[in-house]
């Protein structure tokens, strides 16, 4: 039972345009969501997070939107840069879970110059 779903295995965008990565979840106990970026042969690096009490969080070029009623979140990258090309993972934590993170399968973003 996959509780965090990233339905797009890959996404390709042009440099300067907006990248939108999507994530759906099924567990209503999730109260905290994170996005990570991962380059090959490296550990994931934290990008941005959002608590379930908010619907938007912004940090520079990165904005995460949370729609609790739809159990959906999205990561917007504006403007996209070639260095953003990586695998992006959506992760969620359930309240009372000893801080375990549940990850989606990832989306490979390619930003073309």
């Amino acid at each position: 039972d996959q509780q965090v779903k990233q339905n797009s295995p890959s996404l390709s965008v042009q440099e300067g345009r907006i990248s939108i990565l999507n994530c759906d979840y099924t567990n209503s106990m999730f109260d905290y969501f994170l996005w990570y970026k991962k380059y090959p042969a490296e550990g994931p690096t934290f990008l941005i997070s959002i608590s379930s009490i908010k619907d938007k969080n912004e940090d520079g070029r990165f904005t995460v939107f949370l729609n609790k009623s739809a159990k959906h979140l999205s990561l917007h990258i504006v403007p996209s840069q070639p260095g953003d090309s990586a695998v992006y993972f959506c992760a969620a934590r359930a309240w009372g879970s000893n801080y375990k993170l549940t990850f989606g399968k990832g989306t490979l973003l390619t930003v073309n110059p």
């Binding site: 490296e42 550990g43 997070s49 993972f89 934590r93 000893n98 399968k105």
Partner: protein, 114 residues
Amino acid sequence: DVKVTQSSRYLVKRTGEKVFLECVQDMDHENMFWYRQDPGLGLRLIYFSYDVKMKEKGDIPEGYSVSREKKERFSLILESASTNQTSMYLCVSTRQYLPNYGYTFGSGTRLTVV
């Protein structure tokens, strides 16, 4: 700068060997986790620990065990390595009660079992 250090970046082991993957953090974090990452499967939780000598199974614990004798060190043990355990292994730590500090990942260990 906070750090999670995994002792090896690359390992090659033979089928049937006992394999130890070590992880050390210098942030006095209570919670530590071992994940494996496989293409198309994302990161899956193997085991985690929320205190010294405490451990809990994650989603895919079969074939693995863990040890946490000291707060800063969390070891993953492959009792008898098999080829289906070839993967990237990631250690993660975080602090209790202040989780918004974020989760810190190690750089990963790429294990190949031949």
